[in-house]
Symmetry: C2
Subunit: 150 residues, 2 copies
DNA sequence: GCATAAAGTTAAGCCCGCTTAACTAAAAAG
DNA sequence: CTTTTTAGTTAAGCGGGCTTAACTTTATGC
């Protein structure tokens, strides 16, 4: 327990506050546009892993291909995603966000950022600098080291 | 746009990484103990706003009292929460986590913290100090100012 | 080439969450 | 004291997500 209780304390407090806001915010947003969290989750996943097949999603969400296929169906009908052909494997489909899908996610992200920007305005210039540096450190560390924890 | 693009950049990058991990982690955890996200959400809400009535929850989640009542039913049957009497208003119930419920949430939170602790170990001592300070600043700001964003 | 495996879709069926509507019980308003 | 409001529950019914099972189409291994 010598690994800096202060650090643990700090990051846990922040997680509490942040998670709570974000989770609620996302689910409100999804509901506001008439999407379930699962459907929205698929859009999010496509947003930041880029196009992938049905199997990729079913693995990530730990549900069957059939389930994904059905969810995808609704999203295709809604015009949020496209089923593109895979040129190298004619069995496979590559799922991609349409422009409409992209814009939607972008809008959601912007909304989520708003309170954080409001937060920024309460900080002094130095505080902002400190926070920026710290978050960059964290983000880099996660990305580089790929802290899996799984 | 003069309000520090660097700050925005930093916090957005972190949000991306963090949100993704956390959302996924929570839903896996809920599923692993056989609870839906909605049910789990109720437990979470009770966990950190403390006991409250049915109406409080229905307002927060923006669903009807009937829906909450039914969800609560399952959680009561599962032994996660209790319907206590309100001494000042005999119509009302006060919903509280049981010990089992408390432990469950606590365990979930601990699991969520694990990857963040793993992350801490990749940092140098100075980095940890910087990050601690920054997160304390953020958390305090949110809590004090109550940045609502709503 | 032929058997087997893999990617995806479709349909039937189940459970779940949610809503509306009808109801009970208690508090507040007059 | 009666009327109206408020807190909560119950039941019927709808739509959604997920699974299993059966099927089509394309790749792969021998």
């Amino acid at each position: 327990m010598r690994k800096s209780p202060q650090f643990s304390q700090a990051i846990r407090a922040w997680m509490d506050v942040f998670m709570h806001r974000s989770m609620h915010g996302w689910s409100q947003f999804a509901k506001s546009i008439g999407l379930s969290m699962q459907q929205f989750g698929i859009l999010m996943q496509l947003h930041h892993r880029g196009g992938c097949g049905v199997s990729g999603l079913s693995e990530h969400f730990d549900i069957t291909n059939a389930a994904v296929s059905q969810l995808v169906d609704k999203l295709v009908q809604g015009g949020f995603i496209r089923r593109d052909e895979d040129l190298h494997d004619r069995r496979a489909k590559i799922l991609n966000l349409t422009d409409k899908g992209q814009e939607l996610i972008q809008r959601g992200i912007e909304e989520r950022y708003r309170w954080v920007d409001a937060l920024a305005e309460k900080l002094t210039v130095e505080e902002r600098a400190k926070v920026s540096e710290a978050l960059m450190i964290l983000t880099e560390t996660v990305r580089e080291e790929g802290v899996t924890s799984r």
